[in-house]
Symmetry: C2
Subunit: 366 residues, 2 copies
């Protein structure tokens, strides 16, 4: 096995203590963890650092580099989108869905965000010994129903069982395959100053739905996950404007994280209006009680589109005419100033930086 | 959620007790489990029953039906192979490999068994909080090295972290994408009476390697996993005979399980010679001590080919000329008699049925 790369942090516990014997030294960088933390899976800065320090150095290639929701590869001249996501949500069933439809919709959406028509899915099940067969059946029925709704076929799969206490009921990994539409070229790096930011409705529902059932909390009214397949919505959007620059679903890490990733990838700035993003009353209430920011909460049925200004009205109208886009809004735009930084004008008129979180607000929400 | 199917066994614990109040009744079928057992993941009859009772009723479609190592799908006229496998091997490192090269080789091999040229892989990582970063780096290095050896690119991935005690260090799910060679048509159902069975070398090494390190056992000499990418070996075999009928890698469940699956799928019988299958001395010794049958032990670098008789010599020669096929043998043939049943002539001349196991001999070997 080749060991040709330096391995920072491999010697110490948690973080290596700075060596003070040689006088003042730079602080040990925060990336320098000897063990994986829960926060490394939270979708924030630590996840990014894990990917950049552990995975990318080994797997750097043209297709992986864009760090999009999926890869676009060419098979005998056909442009295909190929994606994968592991689902470890806890609990496996929650208001509005379960790990089954979440896994199908999530992978369908990742393909849609590549501008592809989703066609085929695979599913790998890692089951903890002792899972009730009826719980498994129920998840599989949800997957069938979600696949039917999205118009995709599950064509291959795998099942593993791990000992009791070595898993957590059920983990599902779905991969997806689709054909990218002709003339469509979606990439985070295409965000261009002047582009307009659109979103198809209220934010924060999925994360708060999970949290409410997990912690047994009751907020002002029930919050249901927004999990939904976005491929048909994306279809009408691309019919309205095939030149949409970027599509991303703000899942783990929420709207704020996705905007930061696009801004950083395209080296552009972003300005958004807090009042133009709809946060349902129950989500807002839950966030206030728990000290969370709804812009960092995961969604599973939302798409952020970065659209050329002259097409914004047409795309927005196409979204509002679709059942999954009735509450679509334009909530900001791309600017040349402050590249890599997202600024938000708050409801009271102040402007603040919407930074990436370093860890997770809510672990295991997808 | 639709609940349109009966759900046997959902009411009781483990197995429903037979209702004796109405006089003699049929025994409760063995499939009727209320909870998932470790054995459901063992690759034997129980795994088959789980797939057939829980997954297939929901996902039956033309591509899924063959229950092959992967699905062959058509994307804009291009025949692609698409596969997925979740790896939960424990421990994650073992003599001859680790979960990283196992996951890459396993998926490369599943694509090769479809007659495809493997091209692109995805990887989903489910990491238990607290995993040493250096262990993760080491696995990722193995994956890079295995991908390089097989000539495939890892193009997309996902990372999740679960709480301590809710996983087991690291689970990896790899999916693969490849293009099926023109004129090649590989399917278990194509096994035809008269066909010859070939295998590329000794069996049982992977399972015994895992067992030896897991249980701290020492056998007559060290046993290393045979994990290896078989795509180049399959390439030369298909050059020798593009009309190979079936290719399967005897992983979980071993040679015996794969032969039973092919025999059942093609409704043919099989006759094999025990003496023509090479079992290394150390594997044989370990099996004798532990009461295991080497023909049910997992391999990760072996291929079973079902080949038209007139091409057998050419294919066997092409295998023996390849570094991964030097010890290839012809070990049996397909017959019209006793469809669905595999008969083995033992070294002492007796003939016995090589049945499928109901559960697993060794859990979590891949």
């Amino acid at each position: 096995m080749s060991r040709d790369r330096t391995t920072p942090g491999s010697g110490g516990e948690s973080r290596a203590a700075p060596d003070l014997s040689e006088g003042p030294a730079c602080p040990v960088p925060l990336t320098d963890y000897a063990h994986v933390l829960l926060a490394h899976g939270g979708g924030g800065k630590l996840t990014q650092q894990l990917v950049q320090s552990v995975f990318l150095p080994q797997f750097k290639n043209d297709m992986l580099s864009p760090l999009h929701d999926g890869a676009v590869v060419t098979l005998n001249g056909v442009r295909c989108a190929f994606t994968t996501d592991s689902y470890v949500v806890s609990p496996i069933a929650f208001p509005g869905g379960d790990i089954g439809d979440l896994a199908v919709n999530g992978t369908v959406n990742d393909l849609a965000m590549c501008g592809a028509v989703p066609l085929f899915l695979s599913a790998g099940f890692i089951i903890e010994e002792g899972l009730a067969m009826e719980e498994l059946r129920s998840v599989v029925r949800s997957m069938r129903s979600a696949a039917g709704r999205a118009g995709v076929l599950l064509v291959t799969g795998d099942t593993k069982v791990v000992d009791r206490g070595k898993g957590d009921k059920l983990f599902v990994t779905t991969s997806g395959l689709g054909v990218v539409r002709d003339g469509v070229e979606i990439a985070p790096a295409r965000a261009t100053p002047g582009d307009v930011l659109l979103i198809n409705g209220p934010v924060g529902m999925h994360g708060i739905a999970i949290l409410s059932v997990r912690e047994g909390l009751e907020f002002e009214g029930p919050v249901r996950s927004d999990t939904a397949p976005l491929n048909d919505l994306v279809r009408v959007m691309l019919e309205a404007c095939p030149d949409i620059h970027v599509l991303r679903d703000p899942t783990r890490g929420g709207v704020a994280t996705v905007l930061n990733e696009i801004a950083s990838s395209a080296r552009v700035g972003m300005q958004i209006e807090e009042t133009a993003i709809h946060v349902p009353e129950a989500v807002r209430g839950a966030c206030e009680i728990l000290g969370l920011d709804p812009l960092y909460i995961a969604n599973e049925g939302k798409v952020i589109a970065v659209v050329p200004a002259d097409a914004a009205t047409a795309v927005l109208e196409s979204m509002r005419a679709h059942p999954l886009g009735r509450e679509s809004t334009q909530f900001g735009y791309v600017v040349a100033d402050h590249p890599g930084t997202v600024l938000m004008k708050s409801s009271i008129g102040a402007t603040r930086v919407l930074d990436m979180l370093s860890g997770e607000q809510l672990p295991r929400i997808c």
